[in-house]
Symmetry: C2
Subunit: 480 residues, 2 copies
């Protein structure tokens, strides 16, 4: 919280990000390699995301449960693609209780295996289906390059795991949960995500199909915000998850899994933040309104604080998350900068004059300078704030959507694709390439297929690389 | 959920407990040694406990944060008593990302060390105090003998960690959080806990003083339900947690920690359960009311289900957690037994006759047979249920308190103490013994000092073992 200015986004986005994360007090470096400490201000944003997701999970019939952190090493090896995908990233417990273990235990990188084993035990007949389970948990993937929230060795997430009688039911569930993620991203986090399907190369290790929500950060890189996998019968076969049909036949189940993590906090920072710091969507902001009292003498202080306390109480009882900045010895200017850094949607200033006139000054974080300021009467201020918060929430989403749409280019040739990506933009193109073709684009441009968006133009066109006719467009971008 | 009867508590309490936990679907055995899977019905009870605690933590000014799962081995060793206390139970990660680690990482058994290190970084001056942090997390202690919820290698808990300027503030915090735990135990879980101080022998490894809430289970064993530790300056010195006073002097902080775990779910089972299964306090019951529709023909089914759906909606909008048992092919009798096993506080039966007469039958789980049944009009049933639930909550607490008080004996001699403990009772006695004396009692009787209760008779008396005058009575019991 020093007075020193933050690095400009345009100068060095990556440095800007790290500075914001630490100076806005979202996280703090930890002594453990690749891990960060999530500080209260960052954790509250996560609690907001969690609460919104958990409500939606329950509304769609899911129940929470908790499975072991440790997974026997042999389990991970049972699904061939899965072990290949996760082996390089595993952390392994070899000793416990002062002894070497007979079988090493892997710290879960994800729980398909141990939950698959449980499902095979819990599911007997069609009456037990669908089985709709979610887990809030920590997972560990030993990454080499880590960044707070975006990629850390340990992170917090939820992982949904479901089992169904048919392929179609599993597919419907996979898509439903993608919708739940998109709804949470758009309406709570004000992030305009694009729903789509991953290419074969980018699929979850062991999945039939992976769906994703992709967002554009302010440096125009893509961030995968959540994924939902139709696992087909791959895990059902590896873990013997079978059910008895109404006609007494044994069938393998169809399973799904889907996850969203604390990475979403990083998405909020990089979607809305500006050179002054965070801009938090009101629905997730730990404080929606901060009140900065302004006074010089003790006499002024008394009158101002009386008004401030009274206003704070009325905001609080209206369900607005309000905070009074009571710090002594800091100038109002310092406090204004500090709360702008922390991204509080609305700042309320109250000075002796305001008290006299029964007024207050409201300043929107998302509209800089005079344009974002208004003088309002203290009477009816709750209503004014309620609609202001709704407007800020809407406006952040619209800003982000306009920014995104301005930076997606339709391209028809390889050269155009390369140029678009080199300029930091996303490229949208017809695609009919192979895995190798996809790798070639990645090698040449640094961009990957983020997804085949659900929203397709229709018709067909020539693949940007191979020239073959294709019915699908793909989105290419450099990604986190 | 087989029809086979549960083992009677009086026959084999331990077996009764395991049967209830698995048959009421609270947990399921896991393939990982010493760990269980917490199933949705058990997890929802934990979610209820969590929500009640989290609200109280926030009301008392605490904020949630999240610290790394892994702790460098060297950290654990920095506080001498701490390492001695926890070393035998540690699980250790030696390999990660395909390589052997330079320094092994311990899976946290508790987080005083890593949080102490963070606090030393976060706290600069008196302005940063008090620092009031809580973490919801999983921890691992490699126990040899495990039992679902009561003692497992991995468990879920919260751990509060705070830093203060003075000893007295730390002491006040330690006691305040014990009150929070007691309030949650009594008012949410209906468990009449006894607040007190642990003896030196039973203190947390590295603490100045440990306070505890102790409860009596239905087999009369004691269960420690939550503890709150005044850590003095031990961790502050080991991790260099210092602050600058207003007068510019460097001082070590005074820290506290306090924890309550999923063990509390086991406490609910063993405090209220009977030979028919669980009896859940309404405040924590996933379902407070279960409706069992009763019909024979399809025609009856239509009319009954209409009434059932309508009643369910009105209960739901009144905030009552209601569940309709829609299972086909199971008799009402089977369903009654099943919900008694699962401890749902109130069962509502609706048959064709009830529909005709606009009635319903309500059966209390805590009052067996006819005495617990009443016929009520469907009009105004929400109000009847609201007060019934309040009454059940109160009645469970009173039952447990009466049971507990009936099984605590005041003893004056060693022989009386031995006899009381041999009869499975708790013994209350004046105590002025040493650590060795305490060990002797444990060796002779199997009982430990559960606590020196805050509620003391006053005056003084002769120590039950040494005969020395003492001003404190202690509670002795066999414990989980």
């Amino acid at each position: 919280m020093s007075e020193q200015a933050v690095t400009a986004q345009s100068e060095d986005f990556s440095r800007w990000y790290n500075e914001i994360v630490y100076r806005a007090d979202l996280a703090s470096p930890s002594p453990v390699r690749g891990c960060v400490i999530i500080k209260p201000y960052g954790y509250e944003i996560w609690e907001g995301i969690k609460a919104g997701l958990d409500r939606r999970f329950k509304e769609t019939g899911h129940q929470n449960a908790y499975f072991p952190l440790f997974i026997p090493e042999s389990y991970i090896k049972r699904e061939a693609e899965h072990v290949e995908g996760f082996s390089p990233e595993l952390a392994v417990v070899t000793h416990a209780g002062g002894k070497e273990l007979d079988e090493p235990l892997v710290v879960r990188p994800t729980s398909e295996t141990v939950i698959g084993e449980a499902f095979s035990d819990w599911i007997q007949s069609y009456r037990d289906l669908p089985l709709l389970i979610n887990q809030w948990a920590n997972v560990v993937r030993w990454e080499l390059r880590t960044r707070p929230f975006l990629r850390t060795a340990e992170f917090l997430w939820q992982e949904g795991h479901t089992a169904h009688a048919t392929h179609d039911e599993a597919e419907a569930e996979t898509l439903q949960m993608l919708d739940v993620y998109a709804d949470c991203a758009m309406n709570d986090a004000a992030i305009p995500v694009i729903k789509g399907e991953k290419s074969r190369m980018e699929r979850f290790a062991g999945a039939l199909r992976t769906y994703t929500i992709e967002a554009m950060m302010r440096d125009k890189r893509a961030l995968q915000c959540g994924t939902s996998h139709n696992l087909g019968q791959n895990f059902a076969k590896a873990f013997d998850i079978r059910y008895l049909t109404e006609e007494n036949a044994q069938r393998y189940c169809w399973t799904t899994s889907w996850g969203l993590s604390t990475r979403m906090v990083g998405a909020v920072v990089m979607t809305h933040g500006d050179d002054k710091g965070l801009r938090l969507p009101p629905k997730l902001a730990p404080y929606q309104v901060v009140i900065v009292p302004i006074y010089k003498s003790d006499e002024q202080r008394g009158a101002v604080m009386d008004a401030v306390e009274r206003l704070s109480r009325s905001l609080d009882s209206a369900g607005i998350r309000v905070h009074i900045d009571r710090r002594e010895g800091q100038s109002p200017g310092f406090k204004f900068n500090d709360w702008e850094m922390r991204g509080v949607p609305v700042r309320m200033e109250i000075g002796p004059r305001d008290v006299e006139k029964n007024n207050a000054v409201l300043a929107r974080r998302d509209v800089p300078g005079r344009a974002g300021k208004q003088f309002v009467s203290q009477d009816g201020i709750v209503d004014v704030l309620q609609s202001l918060l709704v407007d800020i929430q809407r406006s952040l989403l619209e800003d982000a959507r306009a920014f995104r749409d301005a930076h997606i280019q339709d391209v028809e040739t390889c050269q155009q694709l390369e140029e678009a990506v080199a300029a930091g933009e996303w490229a949208r193109a017809w695609w009919a390439g192979s895995d190798d073709d996809e790798l070639k684009v990645k090698d040449d441009t640094g961009a990957t297929i983020r997804c085949f968006p659900f929203e397709q133009p229709g018709g067909a066109g020539a693949c940007v690389l191979t020239g073959r006719q294709s019915k699908r467009i793909a989105l290419f971008a450099k990604a986190y």
